[in-house]
């Protein structure tokens, strides 16, 4: 039977590896043939980066390496050495979600959510580069990501909505900030 992950090549033992993951410098010892996805999940604590196929077909493992979307399952960790890596965990600012995150929940872009991290990093890179993409541009940006739940339509809707928020300069609320009134609302009269 084919084994997609053959980590069996002799490793030269632990080699030091440094990269910035979501703005935090990580100094790790990795095997010289380590795959970026494995390093992120098993050593760098980014369990939000998902493994759907391990062979570059699903896009669940997408991360940004120096701002560029990459399939981390097809990337040697060594290739990302000294780079800035952004995973889904790095998109929000504290509890202020990135608009793309907020809109994926609001507009139905995420159902089971397993593909969501991949879609989020890819589309956040798109919006970074092009804050008001056309539907066609959105589709081209996500063509490498598979989603089995949504049929993509509400994903495209979400990206469009996020782009509107971004271009309008609004920010997304923080769910943890104190509520001045425990019963927000308005008076009847």
């Amino acid at each position: 039977m084919v084994q997609h992950r053959l980590p069996m090549l002799p490793s030269a033992g632990d080699v030091p590896w440094v990269a910035s993951v979501n703005g935090v410098e990580k100094q790790l010892n990795i095997e010289n043939n380590a795959i970026l996805l494995d390093v992120l999940r098993d050593q760098a604590g980014s369990l939000g980066t998902k493994r759907g196929c391990d062979m570059g077909t699903c896009g669940c493992c997408s991360v940004l390496v120096n701002g560029e979307p990459r399939l981390s399952c097809l990337t040697l960790a060594a290739e990302a050495e000294d780079c800035e890596i952004t995973t889904v965990e790095g998109l929000a600012e504290g509890h202020h979600l990135h608009p793309i995150q907020a809109m994926f929940t609001e507009c139905g872009g995420s159902q089971c959510g397993f593909c969501t991290p991949g879609f989020l990093v890819v589309t956040s890179a798109l919006l970074e580069e092009n804050p008001s993409p056309s539907d066609e541009e959105i589709k081209c940006a996500i063509e490498g990501n598979l989603c089995r739940c949504t049929g993509y339509q509400q994903i495209v809707d979400s990206v469009r909505a996020a782009s509107e928020i971004l271009t309008s300069g609004e920010s997304v609320a923080d769910s943890t900030s104190p509520k001045s009134d425990p019963h927000p609302g308005f008076s009847r009269e």
Partner: protein, 927 residues
């Protein structure tokens, strides 16, 4: 709101702006009242503005205008978008071991010996288990337990489990996998499902005295309803087609994964992305030989299920066995390839479909013969075999129904339940057949359907009680919105439009493990403490479809609370009451009903407390946004927290338990329970396609998708389900196929060669929600998860016919298949250039007017039946002159049910009918 009289005035006390009698946190703050209720969400029957064209509903008075009917973000959405949702492989326990499974490289073989000694010598290997460690069988259906955790004696397909090994890390586990030596004796394997019908030296399973001959037939069904003998004399048009459907896989993005952990007290916690945790719970107890109370099944986030995570799986048993042996947590994660080895996808099927119409354009017979390929194990197959027949006996009124079905074991990965369970393939065959009948009769296929629909509150020929039916509206809406009349049979070559309908159960009426008359299908517990938040305990499995959200919405609505005051605890069997899980599209219907009944108890207590505080008339109290007040004088009332704290005096937290049970339904013949459901969903889709006549490439351009879900509790999720279903159905009809090579080997166990549609293949989909207000559904709701998948397949097939004039009978419609058909058509018609083909055209016959008139008349009949609560019963058969108020078999013996084939039939059986040529061993007297 105007005050009526003065009976409510100043009784008890009135809340005054800024003058609350006692200030409790959250009791109103500086605002006098909460948000005014949205009148647009309150039904007309309660004085609101929500139109109710389908009449009122028993839950109308519970509507507080909070969340039901509003597009609502999933309550667990924020976990998912921040990467904090933990799926199977994200559960990392300290000290975990990684396990790998040793799988059979052979299709069918005896396991002679397993030598683990070399693997044990490898440093880092901690535990190894084989079939000898788990002798007990399990399986999702109690009647067909035929699986072992690992092979005992035989392996039954490539990828079948042989042993498993746990090691300190993944690399070691994979190395150990290689070092385990297994000796096999290869047996002759079977791959063509037709061979499963024959006697065989070594049947894949042995069911002892229940075994059917020496064959590989796992289940056979024979059913005849109505005037089957009369078909030949009545029919003026007949359609016959032999279909071949490839097997398809759920291809959920998350590969299966599991973590097992035995805690110091000796209890097992199994973390698993499961749709049906309760069945795993039972199977674990069987296999591990420990009582169920010693097991806690923890459902993690589920990265897509679609039926692919609804069996108890052998790898789940393996992780528990290894964890028990090693004393450490054990994690198993599948490679994508392994997902295909465990499969449980849609059955590869051969279906012979015969449809007949009489001179009035009525459907005077459906004869179906379905042979389905079950692969190595039974899984849900018992049910699938029935579903291939009974689920296409509606929404049409039919004069005769004949069904023979058989499911055989072959040496392939097991087939099982997949979205649209058992109904998808035969539905595709029926709906394309109807299209052909319409063509033969020279009538419009939509009008043909409209003139043959069962009315609301009726019974099908199989005796299923059908309540609300929004079929007519679905058809009318898609017809209108797609501009059908301007397009159908009128578009140029290569462009086509097609219709397809669907009918699906909204929750299986029969719980697999117990008597539905004794135990409920679903139970929900509520707990409300001083803080006012509501904790909901439910066992319903959130798999991304939004079940947590729907339960939260239901509770919030009944208690008049915003959604963020509801928290769902649905993960662990330790705290959640038993629920049958997320399959057969049951969750919204059953679980929300249970939640409503629990919340109603709390609501009653809150109303009592309000009466006690205010002295107001209980009948006049309504619940708004966190406030309970007199409807005619909103100033009389209390805040939710005041009422709650009053109710809690002397007793502390409020708790309630609600349950849902199906009403008694159905007939009594053998198999009568299969396909019974408390309600059914209906759908109609129109698809518009472009076919490249020179290459055979089909592209779906646009889909109008109308689905009757009773009431869209969360329209955002319903639309998501409709679009997602289109995606999955489009995959099956155009590109997805588990391809087996000449030697029976699966050739495409990966997402590169197994092609699910990407964003570029997806058409624009217009979801149309039809709300038929089911009397028993929660707030009127029915299912929306599986039914929407059914119509897309035939809609595309019919559109392809409209575009190029060829009918395919093999799915998926890949370019090479379609091109061959186009070329053949050109050849038979003597056309040299494919571009000179003529696409079909339609000139209406006189029958068209007859159908239109009947549809019109029925439309009035239906309207009357749905609005009028004391309606007469209506049984299938009335269209053919039977008394609608009596079941047909009571008025005419030709309509009696027959479940045993006659000798006449057996002289010339159809394909699956051949299964009946063999005798069960116990009746042969030789075992």
């Amino acid at each position: 709101m105007a005050k009526e009289g003065n009976e409510d005035e100043m009784v008890g006390y009135r809340q005054q702006p800024g003058k609350l009698p006692f200030a409790k946190p959250g009791s109103g703050g500086k605002e006098r009242f909460s948000r005014p209720t949205d009148e647009g969400l309150i039904p007309e029957s309660q004085g609101g503005e929500l139109a109710q064209p389908w009449g009122s509903h028993r839950h109308d008075n519970l509507v507080s205008g909070q969340v039901i009917g509003k597009p609502t973000a999933l309550v667990d959405g924020r976990w998912k978008v921040t990467g904090q949702a933990q799926y199977g492989d994200d559960i990392r326990l300290p000290g975990e071991l990684i396990a790998r499974i040793i799988r059979s490289p052979h299709h069918y073989a005896r396991v002679l010996s397993i030598d683990c000694s070399k693997a044990f010598e490898l440093p880092g290997v901690v535990a190894i288990a084989t079939g000898a460690d788990a002798a007990n069988k399990f399986g999702v259906l109690p009647v067909t337990k035929d699986e072992h955790a690992m092979a005992v004696d035989k392996v039954r397909h490539v990828g079948d489990l042989v042993a498993c090994v746990a090691a300190e890390d993944e690399a070691t586990a994979r190395e150990a996998e290689r070092l385990i030596e297994v000796e096999y004796e290869i047996l002759d394997s079977i791959h063509d499902m037709r061979d499963g019908l024959k006697n065989n030296e070594y049947p894949i399973h042995d069911r002892g005295k229940y075994h059917i001959g020496n064959t590989n037939v796992q289940k056979r069904v024979f059913q005849e309803f109505g005037d089957v003998d009369g078909i030949k004399t009545n029919a003026i048009a007949s359609h016959k087609e032999n279909w071949l459907f490839a097997g398809v896989n759920h291809a959920a993005t998350e590969p299966h994964a599991v973590v097992a952990h035995w805690d110091p007290s000796g209890r097992l916690t199994l973390y698993t992305p499961q749709q049906v945790p309760h069945y795993v719970h039972r199977a674990l107890a069987d296999v591990l030989e420990i009582p169920m109370h010693q097991i806690n099944v923890h459902r993690t986030f589920v990265g897509g299920g679609f039926g692919g995570k609804s069996d108890p799986f052998p790898h789940e048993m393996c992780s528990a066995i290894l964890a028990r042996k090693s004393g450490r947590p054990v994690r198993i994660t599948f490679d994508r390839e392994e997902v295909y080895w465990i499969n449980r996808g849609r059955h590869p099927s051969r279906i012979e479909m015969n449809l007949h119409a009489d001179d009035k354009g009525r459907i005077c017979g459906i004869e179906t013969d379905a042979l389905i390929d079950g692969g190595g194990f039974a899984s849900f197959g018992h049910v699938t075999t029935y579903y291939n027949g009974v689920l296409h006996t509606a929404p049409y009124e039919i004069e005769a129904f004949h069904y023979t079905g058989a499911r055989v074991w072959t040496n392939k990965p097991a087939s099982g339940a997949m979205r649209g369970h058992g109904a998808v393939n035969s539905r595709c065959a029926v709906e394309t057949g109807l299209d052909d009948l319409a063509e033969q009769l020279s009538v419009d296929p939509i009008d043909l359907r409209l003139a043959n629909l069962l009315p609301p509150h009726s019974a099908t020929i199989t005796g299923f009680r059908v309540t609300s039916i929004g079929m007519r509206e679905c058809l009318e809406r898609v017809k209108e919105e797609s501009c059908w009349d301007e397009k159908f049979r009128k578009m140029p070559l290569g462009k086509g439009i097609g219709i397809g309908c669907g009918f699906f159960i909204s929750g299986s009426g029969l719980p697999i493990h117990w008597d539905p008359n004794k135990f409920p299908h679903a139970t929900v517990h509520l707990k409300i403490d001083m803080d006012g938040g509501v904790t909901v305990h439910t066992g319903a499995a959130e798999i991304g479809q939004g079940s947590d959200t729907v339960v939260a919405q239901s509770v919030a609505e009944v208690l008049g609370l915003p959604l963020d005051m509801i928290r769902i605890r649905s993960r662990e069997s330790d705290t959640a009451p038993v629920d049958l899980g997320s399959y057969s599209s049951r969750v919204t219907f059953m679980n929300a009903n249970a939640a409503i009944s629990a919340a109603m108890q709390i609501r009653d207590e809150l109303l009592d407390a309000t009466v006690e505080i205010t002295g107001a008339d209980r009948e006049k109290l309504v619940i708004g946004d966190r406030r309970i007040f007199a409807k005619n004088d909103p100033a009389v009332g209390v805040s939710y927290l005041e009422a709650l704290h009053k109710a809690q005096e002397d007793r502390g937290a409020l708790v309630a338990s609600g349950a849902y049970r199906t009403p008694p339904m159905g007939r009594v013949h053998k198999g009568a329970a299969a396909g019974l459901a408390p309600a059914y969903s209906f759908s109609a889709y129109v698809a518009e396609v472009s076919v490249d006549v020179e290459t055979g490439q089909t592209k779906v351009d646009k889909v109008w998708a109308a689905h009757d879900c009773g009431k869209a509790l969360n329209p955002l999720a319903v639309k998501g389900q409709i679009i997602g279903s289109c995606h999955m159905g489009m995959g099956q009809v155009l590109s997805e196929e588990m391809r087996y090579g000449r030697n029976g080997h699966l050739m495409n166990p990966d997402l590169l060669d197994y092609k699910i549609p990407s964003v570029h293949e997806m058409p624009e989909i217009i979801p149309i929600i039809v709300e038929s207000n089911d009397p028993e559904g929660p707030f009127g709701a029915k299912e929306a998860g599986e039914g929407p998948l059914l119509p897309i397949l035939p809609a595309v097939c019919n559109a392809v016919y409209d575009a190029v004039g060829v009918r395919t009978a093999e799915l998926p419609i890949t370019p090479d298949r379609l091109l061959r058909l186009i070329e053949r058509k050109c050849k038979t018609e003597g056309i040299d250039d494919q571009l000179d083909l003529q696409s079909p055209r339609l000139a209406h016959s006189e029958l068209q007017a007859v159908l239109a008139a009947r549809a019109e008349e029925h439309s009035k009949r239906d309207l009357e039946r749905r609005m009028n609560d004391d309606r007469e019963p209506y049984h299938n058969g009335a269209l053919f002159g039977l008394d609608p108020t009596t079941p047909p078999d009571e008025v005419d013996e030709r309509w009696a049910v027959n479940v045993i084939p006659s000798d006449d039939y057996l002289a010339e059986p159809r394909l699956a009918g051949n299964a009946w040529k063999h005798t069960e061993r116990r009746h042969r007297g030789d075992s």
